[in-house]
Symmetry: D2
Subunit: 290 residues, 4 copies
């Protein structure tokens, strides 16, 4: 069909086309086997236009984390990451990078083990840092230093990205959190009838890895480390997680850690996260390599 459209453009509309490149950005999904999780894990990757063209070029990398009830392909299928990146790189607002979307569960957290943290029966954080990240960065010509690595995510993945960035300031130059599950009020965990249910376990892990408490409890050395990362917090005014994000930003200001903060119009929706890409990807592009 692409070819037919091209024929139409060239022969009917009479346009002398701009130098047509045979290279295009592309999206691929694959799996790796995890010894930590004792299972295969899927992931989806965006590769920029020049990736096939220049076989020696190395790239910055962005890890882009999905939310609860979702999996690795949602950032491409509903977030339209490829389309957005193609626009932003064409206009010069984003630089070429590899974007990696892992799978933190596979969907419904009532059925599947889920989440970005280590918890009973699901050592996902261990998997991510000891298996997944090294594997991906080797396979896809990733530069592999802090100055060219960033992380972002939405909702549960926004909390995951923030937590990963906090505990691995040596790995990431920038964190962009969208509608992030920064914390859950303590009473949240008590509400489950079955404390060993998958969703109950996940809830406790979020409370234990509270992004807010990490900042309020940080000592001077940790604060200094946090200052070596560029932070961006973005949450809608109708989002049920807004108060958690305000608490996080408040903690960051109290700790004198620079942080961008935006409250835009919207709720906990894909329209919000899609539009957030237009802020996130230029923000990260400006920081990479600085």
């Amino acid at each position: 069909m692409k070819k037919l459209i091209l024929f139409f453009i060239v022969s009917v509309c009479g346009l002398s086309l701009y130098a047509q490149t045979k290279y295009q950005s592309r999206v691929m999904t694959d799996t790796l086997y995890s010894n930590v999780l004792k299972a295969k894990r899927a992931y989806t990757v965006y590769l920029p236009k020049s990736f096939e063209q220049d076989k020696n070029k190395m790239y910055p990398v962005l890890y882009l984390l999905h939310g609860m009830w979702e999996k690795n392909d949602v950032w491409m299928n509903r977030g339209h990451v490829k389309d957005v990146m193609d626009c932003l790189t064409a206009g010069g607002e984003a630089r070429e990078m590899i974007i990696v979307c892992p799978d933190a569960g596979g969907g419904d957290p009532n059925i599947f083990q889920n989440g970005y943290f280590d918890m009973p029966g699901w050592a996902y954080e261990t998997f991510f840092f000891t298996e997944f990240l090294p594997y991906v960065e080797k396979r896809f010509r990733v530069m592999g230093d802090k100055r060219h690595r960033a992380i972002a995510g939405l909702s549960m993945g926004g909390g995951g990205a923030t937590c990963y960035g906090q505990r691995h300031t040596e790995l990431f130059c920038a964190v962009y959190a969208m509608s992030a599950l920064m914390d859950i009020p303590e009473e949240g965990a008590a509400r489950f009838n079955d404390p060993n249910g998958k969703l109950a376990i996940l809830t406790r892990s979020v409370i234990e890895k509270s992004c807010v408490k990490y900042v309020t409890g940080a000592n001077e050395e940790q604060k200094n480390e946090l200052r070596s990362v560029a932070w961006f917090v973005d949450c809608g005014d109708d989002d049920f997680l807004l108060d958690r994000n305000i608490e996080f930003y408040h903690a960051m200001r109290q700790a004198d850690i620079p942080c961008q903060f935006r409250v835009r119009d919207g709720g906990h929706t894909w329209e919000y996260w899609h539009s957030a890409l237009y802020i996130c990807l230029p923000f990260i592009s400006r920081l990479m390599g600085v």
Copy 2:
């Protein structure tokens, strides 16, 4: 899944939810039989939140036309019209309206008869105005006057919307054309080996119904009629149809017919048309009922 997410929000995040309404906007697809086309034609409709709630309420209507190689559901599936409308009405930037997406062919114009105009074997314009519009407006509680009816479209559908608006100034208060196929250079039609092929026929119909020539050839009465419609032309700076849109806008200025014109960053892509909705729907909302 929605119910599970709601449970999570309420019981875990400890949020006293805003008054939860059981009514939501929705999208439906259906067909009608056309005596003109001697075939069933599909269409997809967006119905606003209050539609089921208040069974007597009447609504403004927007006809939203797809491009070549596409069909009726693409504005919902890739344009995310429902999600955009839900955002914009929640924030007050768009008013509730019914949005109707007809099917002007069914896909590949090399295989199917296609396009918005009357042509040999495909009297689509006749179908649209004598069968489709009356049927839809009766079925869905549409107000049905010019002040509450608008039309918009992308590419071939942008040309369709403009042409319909030009020839039916008594029906539409506003036209929003995205990346519109306003015309095709004369030599375009000559390039087909088979002049009776479906794409060749379609090409000739676009040339015959040139939106540009309609304006340059308009007499004073026609110009006055055109001035009774609010026009908006929106086309990307990398779009292969930009010159056609410039010609149209130039003709409108020469004819002293007020017209908004925007050239934003981008090409002939869905990211462009999706973002155009955020301009189009508030524009149309402001004009409806004025």
Copy 3:
């Protein structure tokens, strides 16, 4: 000079100008004598293009309040209200309205009595509602009903606008608060050496008229009244008043009073307030007359 530029456009650039109207929007400054304040008070007014043209037309009105250390002409001179309104009305995003900027002190609050509230020696709120508003609305063909009257302001004027809107829900359909002084922490008032100094008096008046406490202390009837107004709170992420605005928005959500909230990039600066006009004026335009 305007005439020379016009000559240049017409004769050199060869443009057939759009129908040139001899009527333009304009800004005027005048004074009235206040029996309440026992002094003359200045004010500045924006009158839309059609004001002189149609001598019988009535208009909606927006009261636009300046901040501390400023006076009535600052919204025009630095906020460029006329230029912004001319743009927004030409593009259809704002409707024609009269914009009134009162003078709440005359500059430095260490020297002049200052502020929007009644306080010892400065019954400004009484002046505003019993003298200023009636006078202005009579002089300038203001419609004069709640549905066509709104109020907005920046910093101290954002607090003033919010407070006026809270206590006069029968007068205003919409309130837009920019970087608003919604409250001052209690300890603030204790810090002045001279509790009878003008700035100390002003500070106490802001604490007494706390916009936050008004919401947290509102009974059901008052909450219902507050729900009859459309609220918009807009404050930069680097603004020293952000926490006060967050407290206000939090109180509004707790009280189930719909309120728009935005945190955009920026501090307590005129660039922020100028850009806020592009959100404020369309917001208010959409609500007027609804």
Copy 4:
């Protein structure tokens, strides 16, 4: 007054301020004597925050040109360049740079010699490149290479910036033209009663240095040189110069020279040029040093 506001913030609002720097960006105006023009010429400069702090630091430079009937201070006084830069550098969207605004005449072109080109009695282009640019770049610690030098301007200054960029591709990495006087139709020059009047001379110089004809007449070598510069053309849909800008962009596309093009809402106004800074300064910042 700044000190009083600071006192208010700190002592009344109870805010522990972010690390307060004693260094601020600043604007200064000065003059140099031109042997070419046999006169003193004024100029206004924006110096970034770190300029006084780090006395050895070198900076990129942007030349920012005013329009007809204006002079060197207008970009600061009405364009608010300092305020915009302070915002954009704080948010990371623009990098620190020196911004230089020369004076191309001093105001009314009927009275003063005016314009950016060499013409009888006014060898301004010679002055600019042989005297002004070397002087400024030596005085203000400018890096002084193509990769860190850009030029922009509005109206007559947009034409000046484009023309300078075309004829000195070895000097500038980027050109941003706002509402640019890219050309004047030939018949324009014939309309002056006095062909030796200052405005008539200026008009002829614009026709001779037509930015459009430079592109349409460029040979392959010149086209290649033009491709070494990043171009951005930005003009309002109600601007009387829009057709000239369309002609320029059309010529650039025909010549296969990459160029960004935007048509936003607005006319030939300061609101347009002020908002253009928010696109121009990030665009130039992204390109500098690349």
